[in-house]
């Protein structure tokens, strides 16, 4: 039943219902009530049993609706920061005092005759009394919601339960008012009923003590400027004066006062106002005391100072620390110190979705792991976009399920999300031993802190990036040096041929390879190849290839045999996405017989001289898969070896795809055609090194101001004419 009401209440409070509808209904109800009163006034007695019952019943409905209206407003006021600001507090306090003053003005204009159920002279007086009654009811509600709002704003552990007791007491008091309404009919002096008196006194004392106990966390006063503090003292003094004046007014010795009589026209209002002013007394007293105490500088100001100094310190750290890890350490320690917590940690979300604990203060990773056995916490932490205060972990549905026996002293926490740019990189968690031990002010400081931290992290990240870039640049230089060392420094003399080669490394190391090795038969084998991809990895694979070639060549019988052996050795041993294209050209004899095998590499280009004036460019492209693309069964099956006969003056060109894919500033490719042209333009008796030089010149000329983005490697053999 209670749960059902609670749920209905929650639904109502969160509903989008416009409060003006409630006001309208209240207005109608009040009009009906007044109309009834006027009827009673005209035809019978305004204090008849029936008239009083009429007022009690209609008033109960009005009070219920007013309660709903204020609850709704109350809920709204907690949604906006503005309504909870100190300046708004001053405003609401002043309104409270103005309406208190108005009560006395109203009272002044009430005729004395109405005291003790005296005769109401005319209908206009009745209407005036009704208006006073309405005003009193609204005032009562205003004062109570003022009190509750500001007590809840500065709530502590037991505030909620205290306020529940307070509200229950008020409702009881209002119910107790009913018998008094009927008393004059039976001419009994109920004020002498000791049971009722005792009950009322107990309730009032309990309410007073509750308000007194709930008025805590008054350190917000300390930060006010002195002038504000004085005006606060003045306002409180006026408030105390009004409260006392009202209490004296309504509990006058000569029976019911004028004002009480008027207020009673709405059932419950007299009691409500009476209690409200009673409750204001301990509240004002306690606050006036706090204000006077904090007139000189207090510990809170010192706290603000530590906050400011740690922020300043953080800023200094930001500008000096470029070490990401060190920065996290400093931040974790500073945040803990600022919030006066017992422990803190920072966890970082890595790019591979793993989470690492980057820094801890007064706890260790094992504590965190045993607290968060199912990773619920780390998932939960990642939800928060903004810094958030969890005033009590026992009240948080997710957090309370964690194994807090691992950290028994912790009762509240602040969660601060960390970012660099738009990327969420981690969370800073500050733990505090007391429930409600940290407040909105701590959160605000942590938010400011978070902004600074995020800036600092971004800086550190930028510095890290530029270090990485520099490292990468140096790696490239190293890789290039390495490749250069792997290429042959001098080429051997091959009988019957002149031979020459060049390799122009690109700005990003490309992994081009060429070499001349001797096979088992002692025949020379020219190799040219290209490792896929670019950069450091290509250079390493190239080194590996060079090693494999050097060990396998002396055992190999032919061009295809060498390639097959290389594939068998490398297949499955290098990354799946890496492959090598490699061509092998074996010089079989001085007469110019060549054998050629191609493992996915660029074709072989040969310019042959049919006669002095007739020449032809032939492209040889035997079948063959790239190395490490397939196992030796498939590779061997598809690898062809062809025999090429050459004549004196023939030019044989081996090259890598850097040559034909070379782009100039207009992004055209150099292509076979240009390569062919250079060969066609070469004179009959040209030497290999001359071809190389021509080629190099035209390549560089073609490139212009552009940088090649792939290595360019060419090996040229020219058949001597003297054989």
């Amino acid at each position: 039943m209670i749960n059902k009401i609670k749920q209905k209440y929650k639904e109502f409070i969160t509903s989008e219902l416009n409060t003006s509808y409630i006001v309208l209904v209240i207005f109608v109800l009040w009009s009906v009530k007044i109309a009834g009163d006027l009827t009673f006034f005209t035809f019978t007695d305004i204090y008849s049993f029936l008239a009083i019952t009429w007022r009690i019943i209609t008033s109960i409905f009005i009070l219920l609706l007013l309660t709903l209206y204020f609850l709704k407003n109350f809920q709204e006021s907690f949604k906006t920061v503005d309504s909870l600001s100190t300046s708004n507090y001053f405003k609401e306090l002043k309104i409270l005092l103005y309406i208190s003053l108005a009560i006395f003005v109203f009272n002044y204009f009430l005729p004395d005759e109405i005291q003790n159920y005296g005769k109401i002279q005319n209908i206009w007086l009745l209407i005036y009394i009704e208006l006073v009654s309405i005003f009193s009811t609204v005032t009562g509600f205003y004062i109570l919601s003022f009190l509750l709002k500001w007590l809840l704003k500065r709530k502590h552990k037991r505030t909620k339960i205290y306020i529940q007791i307070l509200i229950t007491s008020i409702i009881s008091m209002i119910i107790l008012e009913a018998p008094f309404h009927y008393y004059h009919i039976r001419s009994e002096d109920l004020t002498s009923n000791s049971l009722l008196i005792a009950l009322s006194v107990i309730l009032i004392i309990s309410m007073l003590s509750i308000v007194f106990l709930t008025t805590r966390k008054n350190n917000w006063i300390a930060v006010l400027p002195k002038k504000k503090k004085w005006s606060l003292i003045l306002l409180y003094l006026i408030g105390i004066f009004f409260s006392f004046a009202f209490i004296i007014l309504s509990s006058g010795s000569d029976g019911e006062s004028k004002f009480s009589m008027a207020a009673q026209f709405t059932f419950g209002t007299d009691t409500l106002l009476f209690i409200s002013y009673f409750c204001l007394l301990p509240y004002f007293f306690k606050l006036i005391f706090s204000t006077i105490v904090t007139l000189p500088t207090t510990s809170f100001l010192e706290r603000t100072n530590t906050e400011i100094s740690s922020l300043t310190y953080l800023n200094r750290v930001v500008s000096q620390t470029i070490d990401f890890d060190k920065l996290i350490d400093t931040v974790t320690a500073l945040a803990l110190q600022t919030c006066r917590g017992i422990a803190s940690w920072t966890e970082i979300y890595n790019k591979d979705n793993s989470i690492s604990i980057a820094s801890t203060q007064f706890l260790n990773e094992i504590n965190i792991k045993s607290l968060d056995t199912n990773n619920n916490l780390s998932n939960y932490l990642q939800i928060f976009e903004k810094s958030v205060l969890i005033p009590s972990i026992k009240e948080d549905n997710t957090l309370k399920q964690l194994n807090w026996s691992a950290l028994p002293l912790v009762n509240s926490m602040i969660i601060v999300p960390l970012r660099t740019g738009n990327r969420r990189i981690g969370t800073l968690v500050i733990l505090h031993p007391d429930e409600y031990g940290m407040d909105e002010d701590d959160l605000k400081v942590m938010e400011a802190f978070a902004d600074n931290i995020n800036l600092a992290l971004e800086n550190a990240k930028l510095v890290q990036d530029s270090i990485d870039k520099e490292r990468y640049r140096r790696e490239l230089v190293l890789a290039r040096e390495m490749e250069e060392k792997l290429l042959p420094k001098a080429l051997p003399e091959i009988e019957g041929f002149t031979i020459s080669a060049f390799s122009i490394p690109a700005n990003e190391v490309g992994g081009d390879y060429y070499d001349i090795v001797k096979l088992k038969s002692g025949k020379f084998c020219v190799l040219i190849g290209d490792v896929s991809g670019k950069g450091m990895s290509s250079a390493f694979y190239m080194a590996q290839l060079k090693g494999v070639v050097m060990s396998l060549a002396p055992e190999s019988l032919s061009a295809s045999d060498l390639l097959k052996r290389i594939n068998k050795t490398l297949y499955g041993k290098i990354d799946k996405q890496i492959y090598i294209t490699l061509s092998a050209l074996v010089v079989e004899n001085v007469e110019g017989t060549l054998t050629f095998s191609r493992a996915g590499h660029m074709p072989l280009m040969v310019k042959t001289n049919i006669s002095d004036i007739s020449q032809e460019i032939k492209i040889f492209r035997p079948n063959g898969l790239g190395i490490s693309l397939a196992n030796n069964l498939i590779f061997d099956k598809w690898l062809e070896e062809i025999k090429i006969e050459t004549n004196p003056g023939d030019i044989i060109v081996l090259f890598t795809d850097g040559i034909n894919e070379l782009r100039n500033s207009s992004n055209d490719e150099f292509g076979y055609v240009s390569l062919k042209q250079i060969l066609e333009n070469s004179v009959y008796n040209i030497r290999a090194d001359e071809v190389i030089n021509n080629l190099k010149d035209s390549l560089l000329q073609y490139l212009g101001d552009n940088t090649a983005h792939d290595d360019m490697t060419v090996v040229v053999l020219v058949k001597n004419s003297n054989y």
């Binding site: 991809g533 799946k576 890496i578 492959y579 063959g624 795809d657 992004n667 983005h709």
Partner: protein, 125 residues
């Protein structure tokens, strides 16, 4: 040289076939984009992958390597990568390496889909 950074992938689904439409330049710099796309497809448990090269202007060795990186896993799951609609220039690069031996390279998308339907898809039914 800035043109090389222009690479695009559009992914469409037709039944349980994931279709990738590549455009621009696929080289060492942009290969990771293709890699991520294929990774995602595999995470989604799709193993019938059709790659359309119609608008691809250039492919480098690193770009070719991407297919090698995935093919084994995909075929282990009874799936396949089929390549289609290559321009002659792009086909030449595949052809030089011997890719036609390792991959189904088809002229049109329909042929590739048909091939999936006739062969590979049945294996899983």
């Amino acid at each position: 040289m800035n043109d090389t950074s222009k690479f695009g992938i559009i992914i469409k689904a037709e039944g349980n076939i994931a279709k990738l439409y590549l455009s621009g330049y696929l080289d060492a710099h942009t290969a990771s984009e293709l890699e991520n796309a294929l990774n995602q497809i595999i995470i989604d448990n799709k193993y019938y992958i059709l790659v359309n090269f119609k608008n691809l202007d250039y492919i480098s060795s690193a770009g070719l390597g991407v297919f090698m990186a995935f093919i084994e896993e995909i075929r282990d799951k009874n799936g396949d990568i089929k390549l289609c609609e290559m321009t002659s220039k792009v086909f030449q690069v595949f052809d030089l390496l011997g890719f036609p031996i390792l991959f189904d390279i088809l002229d049109t998308e329909d042929e590739a889909i048909q091939k999936f339907k006739n062969g590979d898809l049945k294996k899983n039914e």
